[in-house]
């Protein structure tokens, strides 16, 4: 089992969800995040004073998946999130040792889906 963390542009979330759904991956968790990456940030001006915003708004996905779903998940995220522009985001894959469904107490691969 793996835990996949992905940072994507907020406006791509719907597309990513759709691509994931197509592959029948529909369990995930989403949080707001601010990201600092290659994109560099942009400039706002408030009251004539320049603000360098280098923490950009990103959406963070967390998906726990069984081994055979790792590749499809990554592909789906890329399919939904890639625009080719800087700032498209990153995907991280972590080993996941255990997964438990609170409702039933099920464990492992069975609990993930």
């Amino acid at each position: 089992m793996k835990l996949i963390i992905a940072y994507i542009q907020p406006e791509r979330l719907n597309d990513v969800k759709q691509k994931l759904n197509e592959k029948e991956i529909c369990k995930m968790s989403v949080t707001n995040a601010l990201g600092c990456g290659q994109q560099g940030g942009y400039h706002e001006a408030y009251r004539g004073v320049d603000i360098e915003v280098n923490l950009l708004k990103k959406v963070r996905l967390e998906l726990a998946v069984n081994q055979e779903f790792v590749k499809p998940t990554i592909d789906a995220i890329i399919a939904g999130a890639r625009t080719g522009n800087i700032g498209d985001g990153k995907i991280f894959v972590l080993p996941l040792e255990e997964c438990i469904r609170i409702r039933t107490g099920e464990e492992g691969s069975a609990a993930i889906g």
């Binding site: 907020p10 406006e11 979330l13 719907n14 707001n32 706002e44 001006a45 408030y46 708004k57 959406v59």
Partner: protein, 495 residues
């Protein structure tokens, strides 16, 4: 507004209007008749001047009427009508002062509707576009004021002889100031209605251009047709018999149809309609703000309708009551309708509902009974919900705050309702009245929607009307204004 202004007990502004026709007929009375007519008046009111001298002092525009300026008055002697000229009695001076102050206070309340619209429109849309919405609301008032000052007022109310650009040649306490202010906030209301329907996707410069044109030309032209005689003008619609006391059509429908044109030319927000054409909801980001704004609008309406008498007298109380009743029943009507349809008592529809009730009552507010007000309001509340759903699901025009339904559709309903509910219509006069109202409503639609389409298309193909796709997705606040509305708050900008 027409009726009541003529109803001033000591009718000042109208004084002028009376001069013109009667001066011609005045050759008939003999010198003795005139003598006798003059004797009916306290001689102090002539200020020791001859009739000719006083006549010269009569203001050339209703805008210049003052507590110190003379009026003409028709006196009946020996079966003849003699027009005499005199200055105001103390009582009339007091009445004049009251009229000015009440009209101004009412204008202040109407001004506050700008804040109400700001809150409603911002609250009903997404957080990422809030700075843009507030800027539009603030600036359509700023630019609208200037446009109305420079040219709009003249177009709407000037007679053939005297120009009213920049208010004309006013003196310190002239009636023109109070009247202009009241009219100016009305014009700005028309302008600001539109911003809601065009929210979340309109280019800032395009919007500014639009709001100048509406206050400078589109609103004043129609306003002049319907209300011109309130000052020096005289409009063909009022001559036809079209009745719109406080502007169900003149202000609200005009604004609503312009909004419709704008929303059509712009097209829907990205993602508003799915591939299957089914509308998607973009929930408003701050309903408490919207509700506060809507109650401020209600408050402002107590200036809008009762103030339209522009007279310090008891009529305004009745008008305030009817406004209130129509608002209350409008809210109830909408609540029940949406509750039945979507199984939930939806807040934003209820808010639309009471606004719709007050929009609808404007037209006949001075001449309906309590039951008339209940009827007009309740139906408006029902209509607005159906209209929102129709526009969203069938027409597929994206109007984020329901401006077209509230102001356009319910304004039209209210204008027509005059024919059914007015107590001022004689037996059998309903059809004539209805016909006249239909003319007014129809002309309003054609004019406003037509001008709107032309104007917005013009803007579209010159300075540009719609923000780019990227700007829209990121939100206009960051892209157009370089600022967030709620800095520091964590907001999902993703839907």
């Amino acid at each position: 507004m027409r009726k009541s202004i003529l109803g001033w007990l000591f009718c000042m502004v109208a004084g002028l209007a009376i001069v013109m026709p009667t001066v011609r007929a005045a050759d008939e009375p003999t010198a003795a008749d005139v003598e006798q007519a003059l004797a009916t008046v306290d001689s102090a009111l002539f200020h020791g001047m001859t009739q000719e001298e006083i006549a010269k002092e009569v203001p050339v525009s209703g805008s210049y009427v003052d507590e110190t300026s003379p009026i003409s008055e028709d006196v009946e002697v020996n079966g003849k009508t003699v027009t005499i000229f005199r200055y105001l009695t103390d009582m009339e001076v007091m009445q004049f002062r009251g009229n000015v102050i009440w009209t101004c206070i009412a204008a202040f309340l109407v001004f506050l509707m700008q804040a109400g619209f700001l809150c409603v429109e911002a609250g009903f849309t997404r957080a990422k576009n809030s700075v843009n919405i507030i800027m539009k609301n603030v600036l359509d008032f700023c630019f609208g004021t200037c446009a109305y000052l420079v040219i709009g007022y003249h177009i709407m109310f000037a007679g053939p002889d005297e120009s009213l650009y920049f208010l004309g040649q006013t003196d310190a306490t002239d009636w023109g100031f109070a009247f202009w202010l009241f009219q100016c906030v009305f014009a700005a209301t028309t302008a600001t209605i539109v911003s809601g329907a065009m929210a979340e996707r309109t280019k800032f410069t395009g919007y500014i251009a639009y709001s100048i044109v509406i206050c400078a030309v589109i609103y004043p032209v129609y306003g002049g047709w319907a209300w011109g005689s309130l000052l020096d003008g005289g409009g063909w619609l009022e001559d036809v018999g079209f009745y719109d006391f406080a502007g169900s059509t003149v202000v609200h429908s005009i604004g609503g149809w312009l909004a419709l044109a704008g929303a059509i030319v712009l097209g829907p927000r990205i993602g508003k309609y799915g591939k299957d054409g089914k509308p998607k909801a973009f929930p408003g980001h701050n309903l408490p703000l919207a509700a506060l704004g809507a109650l401020m609008l209600w408050f402002g309406w107590f200036g809008f309708n009762p103030g339209s008498t522009t007279t310090f007298d008891g009529n305004m109380a009745r008008i305030a009551v009817m406004t209130n009743i129509a608002g209350a029943t409008g809210g109830i009507g909408a609540l029940l309708t949406i509750w039945i349809i979507s199984k939930k008592p939806d807040a934003s529809m209820t808010i639309n509902g009471f606004l719709a009730g007050m929009v609808a009552i404007c037209s006949a507010v001075d001449c309906v009974t309590v039951f008339g007000a209940i009827g007009i309001g309740l139906i408006a509340g029902i209509v607005v919900v159906l209209s929102v759903l129709f526009i969203d699901n069938v027409l597929k025009v994206d109007d984020p705050v329901g401006a077209v339904s509230v102001h356009g559709v319910c304004g039209a309903w209210g204008t027509l309702a005059y024919a059914f509910f007015s107590t001022g219509i004689e037996e059998g006069g309903m059809f004539t009245a209805l016909k006249n109202q239909i003319i007014g409503v129809g002309v309003g639609f054609v004019w406003a929607f037509g001008c709107g389409m032309v104007l917005f298309l013009l803007i579209k193909y010159t300075i540009g009307l719609r923000a780019s796709r990227e700007e829209e997705l990121k939100g206009l606040d960051i892209t157009e204004h370089g600022a967030e509305a709620y800095s520091g708050f964590q907001i999902f900008t993703t839907e």
